[in-house]
């Protein structure tokens, strides 16, 4: 386990370096000039030159890259050319929004997906299964912006259960926070819930017909224990894999969802930065997101081996 984690950490580092190079060159390949964007309607060449100098855009690419990376490792992503403020600061204030949104959707997707998947497998061929399948199909095929609008119309306008926009920190008012985050989390989590449900259902069907489930029944165990303690325990292995694979989608989906519900998270930050050629912010956001993504995947791997003893403890004795 330890050597494995070290190897993974090494791979992750290489990935991060590559990401930093790609995003650094990527933003500079975008058409448009940040200095021109800042200088206003009728740019004064002297002002433009001054801005270039101030943000270091007049230096050679290797020098700029070195400055970016060497300060990034200390957690400093430079100054935003759009707001003139510290990028690290805006990332830190946007992060709680996106992280909460992602965690809530993950929670919803896992609860709904696994619950519905188990129900569909156990009640095979009965209305419960058809219902679960139909809802899953809907969850997979409906685009999130459309689902977002429908949910807002239904549960924020027609029946005003939830708020349709805005963000209140969970530390300020937890209830109001959930009140505003419920719909976005549902929109973002729905696709994932559908995928998790289908995976859970098919792997539960497999587990339930396995020999060890027959053994569990032959022991006289209660049905609940057979389904959850034996069949689901095994199915969770494949379900966890799918969860890990879906996390990437969660991050990109968050950008769209944040737009729909006007949430001041990474999505909004990225979009604003891209439209304003705000190099430092784009670099910072992308690097942070990539790091989070890598860490989460590492976590999934660890979780995976915690569930499956065949990975944790190899080989027949």
């Amino acid at each position: 386990m330890i050597p494995y984690l070290l190897r993974r950490a090494g791979q992750s580092l290489v990935t991060l370096v590559l990401v930093s190079v790609v995003v650094f060159l990527g933003v500079r390949a975008l058409p448009g000039d940040p200095a021109l964007a800042m200088a206003g309607e009728t740019p004064d060449p002297q002002l433009v030159a001054a801005i270039r100098h101030q943000y270091g855009f007049d230096q050679s690419l290797p020098v700029q890259y070195w400055k970016f990376v060497s300060s990034a490792v200390t957690g400093n992503f430079g100054i935003s050319s759009r707001t003139g403020m510290s990028v690290t600061h805006s990332i830190l204030s946007a992060a709680p929004v996106t992280v909460e949104l992602a965690l809530l959707s993950l929670l919803l997707a896992t609860l709904i997906g696994i619950g519905a998947g188990v129900a569909a497998a156990v009640r095979r061929g009965r209305p419960t299964e058809w219902l679960a399948n139909a809802v899953a199909l809907l969850g997979l095929s409906v685009p999130s912006f459309w689902l977002g609008m429908v949910l807002v119309l239904a549960f924020a306008v027609a029946i005003p259960l939830f708020a349709a926009s805005g963000f209140v920190p969970i530390s300020a008012d937890p209830l109001d926070n959930l009140h505003r985050m419920a719909l976005p989390a549902l929109v973002l989590g729905s696709g994932m819930a559908a995928v998790v449900m289908r995976q859970t259902r098919s792997s539960m069907l497999e587990s339930l017909s396995a020999d060890y489930v027959r053994t569990a029944r032959a022991k006289g165990l209660a049905r609940r224990q057979v389904v959850y303690g034996h069949a689901l325990r095994n199915s969770l292995i494949t379900v966890t894999t799918v969860l890990g694979l879906q996390l990437g989608q969660l991050i990109s989906g968050a950008v769209v969802t944040e737009q729909i519900f006007v949430l001041p998270g990474f999505g909004k930050l990225t979009l604003d930065a891209v439209t304003n050629r705000d190099y430092a912010t784009i670099q910072g956001v992308v690097l942070c997101t990539a790091t989070a993504y890598i860490l989460v995947n590492l976590l999934v791997d660890v979780l995976y081996s915690a569930i499956d003893p065949r990975i944790r403890i190899g080989g027949a004795a």
Binding site: D211, A218, N234
Partner: protein, 345 residues
């Protein structure tokens, strides 16, 4: 011990006219067609027959473990020895739950896949103890270690925390036996407990079963292909062919004087020197086992039998439940032909 099926002690398990058919959209399969037997307390009954003749399906029916596609008729009664008798066929989950693993336990044919890969073997043994004997976690674990030792697993206090993939096939089958005997069941159904294992391991497993019968008086239904094992450990034999019982009697009777031509064929294959083929597998009895879709009123062995005549293809021979009997119109060794009674009740 020479238990007489009728007239002896009250049978602990009575299977009466059991039929099992599987229905699918491709048609139906008659897997078991009128099996009856009685199992006396402490008795070892061997069930033999070619692959696919319905041995596993019969035993799965006893514990209600058949898939929902199975349709069963007949009766399976269990006597708990305290005066109570329970009907198991079609019983609800609560009744079955109180019998499974406690009164009647089963060892399955597939040792490699019958244990849950993500739970320790100790946990899988403890589970049945906690369910039926109300032990707490620590007690159940201590007892699990004890049971592992009992079935001959070395270093049981270490093995108890291992996962199935860390054990060999023989070890896993021993764990299955430990689970099965954990609550001192009155009946143990062992479905080819040694077939998947190599010969030295086989002997050890049979010893465990023998001890169990001697020390706890457990009645055992032993399903096997191996007539050597039958001669070694069983009291009585039930010979099955294509879902039906074709002969039954004590081991001595059936082995010394087989009455059904099919039994004779099976014995010829392994017992007579010179006719034993390479590898010790059964001699080919000419023809194939029919795959029945219903229950025809004929002798289903007739197409493969050199004694068959028009009677065999017109009427179904019944099996007398008393003593040594064969379901055959032309039994060997001078036995009288059975009366044409109703074979399926």
């Amino acid at each position: 011990m020479t238990p007489t099926p009728s007239g002896g002690p009250e049978p602990v398990l009575t299977v009466d006219g059991l039929t099992v058919s599987f229905r699918s959209r491709y048609g139906s399969v008659q897997a078991v067609d009128g099996i009856s037997y009685e199992l006396a307390p402490g008795e070892v009954l061997a069930v033999v027959g070619e692959s696919g003749c319905g041995k596993s399906v019969t035993s799965m029916a006893v514990l209600g473990l058949l898939p929902p596609t199975a349709h069963t008729t007949g009766s399976i009664r269990f006597a708990d020895g305290r005066g109570g008798t329970r009907e198991l066929l079609g019983a609800d989950e609560r009744t079955l739950g109180s019998v499974r693993g406690k009164e009647i336990a089963m060892i399955f044919q597939e040792p490699m896949t019958s244990l849950n890969p993500v739970l320790t073997v100790g946990r899988q043994i403890a589970e049945v103890l906690r369910r039926h004997q109300g032990l707490n976690r620590a007690q159940a674990r201590a007892r699990a270690v004890e049971l592992l030792g009992l079935v001959g697993i070395p270093a049981p206090d270490r093995r108890v925390d291992e996962y199935p993939h860390q054990l060999s096939g023989g070890m896993r089958q021993r764990v299955m036996i430990a689970i099965a005997v954990a609550c001192d069941p009155r009946v143990l159904i062992a479905d080819e407990p040694t077939t998947a294992l190599d010969v030295t391991v086989q002997a050890g497993i049979l010893d465990v079963l023998r001890n169990l019968r001697e020390q706890l008086g457990t009645a055992i239904v032993l399903i096997t292909h191996d007539l050597g094992v039958v001669a070694d450990i069983a009291d009585r034999v039930l010979v099955m062919y294509a879902g039906r019982a074709v002969e039954q009697g004590t081991v001595q009777e059936v082995f010394a004087e087989p009455r059904h031509p099919y039994t004779r064929g099976l014995l010829d294959a392994v017992l007579r020197p010179g006719t034993r083929p390479e590898g010790g597998r059964l001699r080919e009895i000419p023809g194939v086992v029919p795959r029945l879709t219903d229950s025809p009123d004929v002798c289903t062995f007739a197409p493969r039998c050199d004694r068959a005549d028009e009677r065999c293809t017109a009427l179904r021979p019944a099996l007398d439940t008393a003593a040594h009997a064969a379901a055959c119109w032309h039994p060997l060794a001078g036995a009288a032909a059975p009366a044409p009674s109703e074979a399926t009740r």
